[in-house]
Amino acid sequence: MQLLLIKTFAYIKGKVMIIKKSIINLSKAAILSSTIIILSACEIAPPKADIAYAEATLLSAKNTGATEYAGVEFDEAQKKIQQAKIEMDAGNNTIALRLAKESLAVANLAKSKSKANKALVTGKQLKASFN
């Protein structure tokens, strides 16, 4: 009878140990999963569309004569687009998106400045033609 009790106790103890180990493993898995979820929630999708939009706007600026009439802004927008692509390739999508948005604004400025300078140059030529 005593031997039976000892065996039963040992069996229960073993089961409890197994359960404890399982709980620890489960906790570890849960922590790992949460970390992965949190980390993946912080990073965004690659901003391919934003970069493409900035590139299209820069091309439009070029067509209005931005390389001639707003060279500084044109170069700046171009550099920012290149940087955005580098960051996207490196997986730094948040930085890439920020740079894409900045390059879009600068490309729009290049376009607007180009049009303004062209109109001013036309005005100068018109005034000169009066002499």
Binding site: R98, K101, E102, A105, V106, N108, L109, S112, K113, K115, A116, A119, L120, T122, G123, L126, K127, S129, F130
Partner: protein
Amino acid sequence: MQKMTIKKITLPFLLATLAIGCSSQKPQALLNAEESLQSAANNPYILKHARNELNIANKTLLTASTADSEEEILSIAFIADTQIKTAVNTAIEHKAIQINKELSQQKDLLIALSNKAKKEDAQRELVKMQELQELKAEKEISLAFGQIKFVAGKSELVSGTATGVDLLANYLHKSPEKSVSLASHTDSSGSSQLNQTLSQQRADYIRDILITKGVSSKNITSIGYGESLPIANNSTKFGRQQNRRITLGFK
């Protein structure tokens, strides 16, 4: 209307300022962008011609309140500042186009005036040339009239001396606005009464020939002066020849 638009711009701008201001100390770049936006919104010309651009910049500044890092706020400030510069350039372009339009109109007007002046100059030059040509033609006709010879004592031309009359008829045909006065003179041979009559008959004879050649009688005056206006001495043959003449006056 303009005041309302400014309010539309400034109200969200102030809200954005407050929202960001409550959360933390604003970076200088963001403060600068806000100041630039306010300054641009106070310019009626920028507001009129680049309202959309200003609204875009304003919306960008509003997003700063939800930014979760300083880098993002700085990026937002940069984008807003760039968008404000875009608005300023859009307004500059509009103004320049307006000025260019006015300049083009002025230029067209000047060209038209210049063309008119050139045309008038050309017309004056043409009239001058025509006058010179007329003067030359009248001189040739007068010279030819110097060769006209009448049969002695009669109002008939000596054959082959009528070149001047033909020239005069052609000239008056080509220039119908011109009129001519024929003044006939004689020498002092014979009685003055007879000379007076003869000179008038000779002047009328030339007038009649011109009329038969198609010249309007309104454009011809014929006067006989007889021997009253000699230009040379009647005591010599050469002098008398000089005095027998028909002179022309053109008008």
